[in-house]
């Protein structure tokens, strides 16, 4: 998206020149197709390497936790919600940030594109007007509709526009309604399974896990100084690839994100073996919405339901 890139660069350079921020966090062009590298610029020259397109699928809010400087940061809808969660949880002050808001129309899923390719992808082109993505490599070239290869969380997104920002790089885009997006369709499918089928489904889902913790590390919510899997005194979870330990890690991590997760998809994007850990977090997101009427990160004033107590909180599920 050339227009977005140009605007981001313009704003970033202005912020640095006017000394409004110490660093600007954005993406620098990647060295392989479909990837970009989170990067911080401290000079106008460095801002020239900034880029923005449909491959910026990580969550830059991950990089501002506990920082003390004044930061300019590029943020989409979900990213800005994570920034709000950070502010509510005291991990950054709102006045440290200058949020460069990006109305987002979704990021492409590099795993899906790799599966479609007939060999190694050497280059990727996006046609904004036609809404298509073209991948090419040695002896092949394929075009698809961007909508078909969006990341799953992007295709069901209802918060494309930043909820918190200081300046937008473009006009806001139309939001999907909840009816159109039907974000919990997949969760309902799993809920409808029998207990045995559910067990097999989750067993299969986690069978490839190599305990690399990329999901935890890419997630802006996972910032505990000592993660529960790293404790040794007492040791809660074993460190091998024993299936019981793998399940414990993923389930507990999902619960720690309950009421805070914005479904940004960074966990799935960074997983080297492509596990859709969102199956766990999306269920908890649905429960929070239905039980408490709560969606994470929509503003910096409200505290999450698992953090507060109201006498009328539902309790029929507590047995």
């Amino acid at each position: 998206m050339k227009s977005y890139t140009d605007k981001i660069k313009e704003i970033a350079k202005r912020l640095l020149k006017e000394d409004k921020v110490d660093i600007v966090i954005g993406y620098r062009k990647g060295t392989v197709p479909l990837m970009h590298q989170p990067f911080f610029a401290t000079s106008e020259g460095e801002v020239d390497s900034f880029v923005w397109d449909s491959n910026c699928g990580l969550n830059l809010a991950n990089y501002i936790t506990d920082r003390k400087e004044r930061i300019g940061i590029v943020a989409t809808g979900c990213n800005s919600r994570n920034i709000a969660v950070h502010v509510v949880e005291g991990k950054i002050q709102r006045d440290q940030l200058y949020i460069i808001g990006v109305p987002c129309q979704g990021m492409v899923d590099r795993h899906k594109l790799a599966a479609m390719a007939e060999g190694n992808i050497a280059s990727v082109e996006e046609d904004e007007d036609k809404g298509t993505i073209t991948i090419s490599g040695q002896g092949f070239s394929k075009s698809v509709d961007k909508a078909e290869v969006l990341q799953e969380n992007c295709s069901i997104c209802v918060h494309r526009n930043p909820v918190l920002c200081d300046e937008l790089v473009a006009d806001e885009v139309t939001e999907q309604t909840r009816e159109q997006a039907d974000p919990y369709a997949r969760v309902r499918e799993i809920e409808a399974m029998s207990p045995d089928d559910k067990w097999t489904y989750f067993d299969d889902l986690l069978s490839d896990c190599i305990r690399c913790y990329a999901c935890r590390n890419a997630c802006p919510l996972c910032y505990c100084p000592q993660c529960f899997v790293d404790e040794s005194n007492p040791q809660w979870v074993g460190k091998s690839v024993d299936p019981t330990d793998i399940r414990t890690f993923h389930l507990l991590r999902a619960y720690h994100c309950a009421g805070r997760c914005t479904d940004c998809g960074a966990c799935v994007r960074s997983c080297p073996v492509g596990i859709n850990v969102r199956d766990f977090t999306k269920k908890l997101e649905k429960d929070c919405l239905e039980l408490y009427g709560w969606e994470a990160g929509l503003n910096t004033e409200q505290r999450p339901p698992l953090d507060t107590y109201k006498p009328e909180d539902p309790e029929d599920f507590i047995k």
């Binding site: 060295t31 392989v32 590298q37 060999g119 040695q138 890419a218």
Partner: protein, 359 residues
């Protein structure tokens, strides 16, 4: 060294003959990616694959391996005395392994096979395995094996090198183990001189198809401390995006660091070795709470300095990398070892600058 011809249907039937003496392991497609798996009866390896997502190091060096066990029952004679578990190291054959991955085993061996100590688990697994390699005719855009000490036809750690020639393979039987395996499979079609030359010709074509490379010529002569202290020029910016996930170390064929953990189940104690990663904060944490590599920058610097400088200095035999490109493809934040290698190689301590290129 013999060169034989194996027709592709001979290949398939020969594999079935091997099953009585070898466990066969080959690349199999699961969901979107390939992985090396034990082949069941009748299952053929997918020899048209490009490469697996995770390197085949786990065939010799499993991610979690039981190294000792003991009884925790006070009434037993050998109560609390750790012993090696009973394990049979059956003969294995890895089929279709790429030369970069095969070469990685020689690099890793330097760590597990030293004058003073030998790791019996790794060595026994390695020595009972026969490597049947498949040369690369279509390298990926991220492959840089030929400048990393390996190459698309590199055979220094293979027992047999296969070159795909349409409806048949041309195979170099490089070692006794290789000849033994070929005999057991019934592959014995001898060829003449031209076959050997044909392999060389294909090798040259493959090598010229490699698009990516790194510069390593100056690494040995660079000062270790100068590179280590180049925080502003190199490390701060590169480490920023790193999320310390450890993916690079897990998929890398030449990374070998491990953790030793004790676990108890009922009345038995187990000592287990698991893959570990220098990218994790816990890796160097002292019991007192002091952590010599407490920041992300320290850890990222350790990984690249180890691969591109410390290993070079310690073993004087090239970098600890075979150019397979997996870390480049799979790093979620696109940290590129080629870029960092070129930066280290071109670093000038006087001006504290380096060329920044990734090719």
């Amino acid at each position: 060294m013999k060169v034989i011809k194996i027709d592709k249907n001979e290949w398939a039937s020969g594999l079935e003959k091997l099953r009585s003496a070898y466990e066969l392991i080959g690349p199999v497609k699961e969901k979107f990616y390939h992985a090396f798996q034990s082949l069941e009866s009748g299952q053929q390896p997918d020899m048209d694959y490009i490469n697996t997502r995770v390197s085949p190091k786990y065939v010799i060096y499993p991610q979690s391996e039981l190294i000792l066990e003991c009884s925790l029952n006070e009434n037993d004679e050998d109560y609390k005395i750790y012993k090696e578990p009973e394990k049979e190291y059956k003969a294995k054959a890895i089929l279709g392994i790429r030369p970069c991955d095969a070469d990685s085993f020689s690099l890793v061996r330097r760590n597990f096979d030293t004058e003073e100590y030998k790791d019996p688990y790794w060595l026994r697994a390695y020595e009972s395995t026969t490597f049947v390699g498949l040369a690369c005719d279509q390298p990926c855009p991220t492959c840089f094996c030929s400048s990393a000490g390996s190459g698309p036809y590199s055979d220094s750690n293979l027992d047999i090198l296969l070159a795909d020639n349409g409806d048949h393979y041309l195979a170099r039987l490089l070692t006794d183990k290789g000849e033994k395996l070929a005999e057991a499979a019934g592959w014995s079609q001898e060829t003449g001189e031209e076959a050997d030359q044909q392999i060389d010709q294909k090798k040259q074509e493959a090598e010229s198809a490699i698009q990516s490379s790194v510069n390593t010529d100056k690494l040995a002569s660079q000062s270790l401390l100068d590179l280590y202290e180049a925080a502003d020029a190199i490390w701060e910016k590169e480490a920023f995006s790193c999320i310390n996930c450890g993916t690079c170390t897990f998929v890398c064929p030449t990374c070998w660091c491990f953790d030793v953990q004790d676990e108890v189940s009922g009345k038995k104690g187990y000592r287990i070795r698991n893959w570990d990663s220098c990218m994790y904060p816990l890796f160097t944490m002292h019991a007192s709470g002091h952590n010599p590599r407490g920041t992300k920058v320290d850890r990222l610097r350790q990984r690249f300095m180890h691969k591109l400088k410390y290993y070079v200095d310690k073993y004087e035999n090239g970098i600890q990398c075979t150019g397979c490109g997996r870390c480049v493809q799979l790093c979620p934040v696109n940290i590129d070892i080629r870029r960092i290698c070129n930066m280290l190689n071109s670093y000038d301590p006087e001006s504290c600058t380096c060329e920044v290129t990734a090719s």
